[in-house]
């Protein structure tokens, strides 16, 4: 699990540190570095994904080097992972002891690499989610939500209790449906349908609403037996009715705090972004999980909500989402 990510000259994040918890919700105006922070996680998997010119900050002086430094949480709290891009296109990814900056042993490096390689950054797209896909063993949900039918199919076959749990939860979220069905549009392909509770009619994925597909993708990730150790989710509330946001939060918490939900697996660190004051309202009692992204003249910064002095008092009789929207906490567009 990550304790923090420190950015230097990484796109809009010239000089910024993102403090992370098992679950972190980032809010801020467009272009304030929320998605950029998630992109950095992908760079950790493959340094060659980005060239210097792709990541170097622009607009305020010449940038000679770019770096992203991950500080790990327990049990790796003495470790840092540092990515560097130099102007001459040299790149480096180093695993170091935090204190003396010497190289970590191979065993730990392999363990950290394994975690980094499993990171997933998702922005579910209904067009991807509805695609019929070829049945392939060990297929995972793609960042846009492709492969959902195959992942669900695998759950049904290999972890039927999890598949049933998804069905059960889906009935709570979307009571008009009672079960997930599969279709075989072509040989070896799978697509999904949802069966209407009253009529028994099965609705093809392509005819389901964007919010329904988003809900299904989030539920599926939440109930995976082996989810990634860290996951970034762009706007998990997108398309979902505000009254269902509590369920969305619960699903994400299932990933972050599995022991609280009777799951025996390791926690998944979740970093989510949102623009929804309603979603933010759900974190009124957990300000330590909220980070406000703030645009600056030549960059952006991250401010943990818990760092605000007198926060409790300021919010005594105002909803957190309302206070954020009002602008008094920052993390809002400056000119609108």
């Amino acid at each position: 699990m990550f304790q923090s990510i420190q950015f230097k000259n990484f796109k809009v994040l010239r000089e910024a540190t993102l403090q992370l918890r098992p679950f972190t919700l980032i809010l801020g105006p467009n272009g304030s570095g929320k998605s950029t922070a998630l992109q950095a996680l992908l760079a950790l998997q493959n340094l060659n994904r980005f060239q210097f010119s792709d990541v170097a900050s622009v607009g305020a002086g010449v940038v000679k080097d770019v770096s992203v430094t991950i500080r790990w949480a327990a049990p790796f709290s003495e470790c840092v992972t540092v990515m560097n891009w130099a102007q001459d296109n040299r790149k480096a990814l180093n695993y170091l002891h935090e204190k003396n900056r010497t190289r970590l042993g191979d065993e730990i490096v392999i363990e950290l690499q394994r975690i980094l390689n499993g990171i997933q950054v998702c922005a579910f797209d209904s067009e991807a989610v509805i695609q019929p896909v070829m049945l392939t063993p060990n297929a995972t949900l793609s960042p846009k939500g492709m492969n959902l039918p195959v992942v669900l199919d695998r759950l049904r076959d290999q972890w039927p209790e999890r598949f049933e749990a998804i069905n059960k939860e889906m009935r709570q979220w979307l009571p008009e449906f009672d079960t997930i069905l599969f279709d075989t549009p072509d040989n070896g392909q799978r697509s999904i349908k949802l069966r209407m509770k009253q009529s028994g009619v099965a609705i093809a994925a392509k005819d389901l609403s964007q919010g329904t597909l988003q809900a299904l993708a989030i539920l599926t990730i939440a109930y995976l037996p082996d989810p990634p150790r860290a996951i970034g989710i762009e706007e998990p509330d997108r398309g979902i009715h505000p009254r269902l946001l509590r369920q969305v939060r619960d699903a994400l918490y299932r990933l972050s705090y599995p022991d609280q939900f009777g799951e025996g697996r390791a926690p998944t660190q979740v970093i989510a972004t949102t623009h929804s004051p309603y979603f933010l309202d759900l974190y009124r009692d957990r300000p330590e999980e909220v980070v406000l992204a703030e645009k600056l003249d030549t960059g952006a910064r991250f401010i943990p909500l818990s760092s605000y002095q007198h926060l409790e008092e300021i919010l005594r009789d105002t909803q957190l989402g309302e206070a954020w929207y009002s602008g008094i906490l920052g993390g809002v567009p400056t000119n609108s």
Binding site: S326, G327, I328, V332, T334, S336
Partner: protein, 204 residues
């Protein structure tokens, strides 16, 4: 002077600041790093305590100006000043501000509150069409809620019921500049909504 403005829209803020500058006889600076926004009346009332506390604790503000529309609610009356009305929006805002400030004895900034009757567009319309004043609105209200008049008001002011934000901002600025050319007359016709705002600002 550093002020914060809590109103219902960016256009309102533009107009209110021009009016306040004229009354105060100076050019105010915005005291907050982000413009304060609310989502309509209930949010103005609900956000006010948080805004006051935030200004007290983290911003160096000299004053807070609050302006909301009355919509179809009862108008503020002079006798409310001695006995507040629970239905009057000015009284509700004043009470909330006083309650919060009483918990912050060290707060040094002042608060000025006004209510646009029935909506701030009536203020914008006044320089060119003075038929809708607080007095005439009181008569309209006698026959019950009048959302139709308020909707027509928008059309009269903006030329459409669906003005863009840019159009609203420009109209607010133009109208406020016209209003300050004869604030005395304006205050005479909007004595119970704009009047308290003007009086409070003069006392700063």
């Amino acid at each position: 002077m550093r002020v914060a403005i809590l109103s219902e829209s960016p256009a309102d803020e533009i107009a209110v600041r021009i009016l306040a500058d004229s009354i105060l006889g100076l050019s105010t600076q915005l005291a907050v790093s982000h413009k304060i926004r609310s989502r309509g009346w209930p949010a103005v009332l609900n956000t006010l305590p948080a805004v006051i506390r935030q200004l007290h604790y983290t911003e160096s503000a000299d004053g807070l100006i609050v302006v909301a529309d009355s919509d179809d609610t009862p108008l503020h009356e002079t006798h409310h000043d001695s006995e507040a009305s629970v239905d009057c929006r000015l009284c509700q805002l004043r009470k909330k501000a006083v309650d919060v400030l009483s918990d912050l004895p060290a707060a040094t900034f002042k608060v000025a509150i006004g209510i646009a009757v029935p909506a701030i567009e009536a203020w914008y319309l006044f320089p060119t069409d003075a038929r809708l004043t607080e007095s005439t609105w009181r008569q309209h209200l006698g026959s019950g809620p009048r959302p139709d008049i308020r909707r027509n008001l928008k059309k009269k002011v903006y030329g459409t019921e669906l003005p863009s934000q840019t159009v609203e901002n420009q109209r607010a600025e133009d109208a406020a500049k016209q209003l300050i050319s004869n604030l005395h007359l304006f205050e005479q016709h909007f004595p119970n909504g704009f009047g308290p705002l003007a009086q409070a600002l003069r006392s700063w």
